[in-house]
Amino acid sequence: MYAQALNVAEQATHDDPEKLARFQARIDAEEKIEPNDWMPEGYRRTLVRQVSQHAHSEIVGMLPEGNWITRAPSLKRKAALLAKVQDEGGHGLYLYSAAETLGVSREELVEQLHSGKAKYSSIFNYPTPSWADMGMIGWLVDGAAIMNQIPLCRTSFGPYARAMIRICKEESFHQRQGYEIVMTLARGTPAQKKMAQESLNRWWWPALMMFGPSDAASQHSDQNMKWKIKRFSNDALRQKFIDATVPQGHFLGLTFPDPDLKFNEATGHWDHGEIDWAEFNRVVKGEGPCNRERIKARIKAHEDGAWVREAALAFAAKRAARKAAAKIAAE
């Protein structure tokens, strides 16, 4: 789903200036950086952090929706939701693989998520108490993710860009199925319409926070832009998302929970009210409504699945031993 610009302070590194200049020249020439190429330590660290946080977001992102698989209102919705959650698992795997090319192991990455050392997108720390939330996640959360991910298809690190191309291809189904759920509710009974509106009221602001801190407060955007890890600022992407999404909501007769939301004839954009950054910081720091529950669920899934991994390894060893024995017998 989405990598959030969390902007953790980066320590200064002491790279060879000549190599650094050559590296920047390659970036400026739009060459892709590959895993075995020389890269500044800061670039490597930024990417390990961003790609792994992106992977964690996909994996944790399976939880709020997994909540509704057994209670989807029809077989069609259930099949679609299952496929979407399975995609998210797949997206997490593509991204873990991309991060691993930078020299970090899968076990370390999983450990960082479980210990709370690594972050994931703040959006997944909000609960999903109604079926309308499944629609809202697809429409708004995946919609915001697509806005952010399309430019990442051209990010400077090759394996990350390639993973993003694959993910973006699959993601558009997510947004459309979400919008269709919201549309069905918005055109349903008054109670269903109310459910859709109530859900939009809860998700709108957290969805806008997905783009990360405002440009004025973002500490690392400049360096990431220079390295072409990032190509658009947080605020620019957020505005693009608002401009695309507001008419889609109005089409359904829904209202947005922002009294300051107004179309600006002069700029051609939708002006919006102030985002509650205090809430954003609270959720990022672990004080959101579901942070503890999400990590607990991940750790439980990992521990409960340990026997499967052990059995698979034991089976592989047994099969290899049998093959070897058969070979000896044949000789």
Partner: protein, 95 residues
């Protein structure tokens, strides 16, 4: 942790278009058979391919990016390997 032993595999997929197998990504699996099954689930959820290869990542020998210039230099100077090097009168038509 047991997973330290989980080898890495590179996945190649041949699409329906009949072109060569193409690198799709990588994954961890205990052995080749399970790597194939996992590759089916991870890389072909939408009919992307008709055939999958999995290769242990450790079995791949790659050229060194530092040697790129010397390795590929000989090709740069051989313009006569390209069709546009040769002149054919326009009257002859497309060739």
């Amino acid at each position: 942790m047991t997973e330290k032993n989980m080898p890495l595999w590179e996945v190649f997929i041949r699409s329906r278009t009949g072109l060569s197998h193409r690198h799709a990504g990588s994954l961890h699996a205990p052995d080749a058979e399970m790597a194939l099954q996992n590759a089916r689930d991870v890389y072909t959820r939408r009919g992307e391919g008709l055939s999958i290869w999995v290769v242990p990542s450790s079995a791949i020998t790659a050229s060194d990016p530092a040697d790129k210039d010397t390795l590929f230099e000989p090709t740069a100077s051989k313009v006569y390997r390209h069709p546009t090097f040769y002149e054919v009168p326009e009257e002859v038509g497309h060739m």
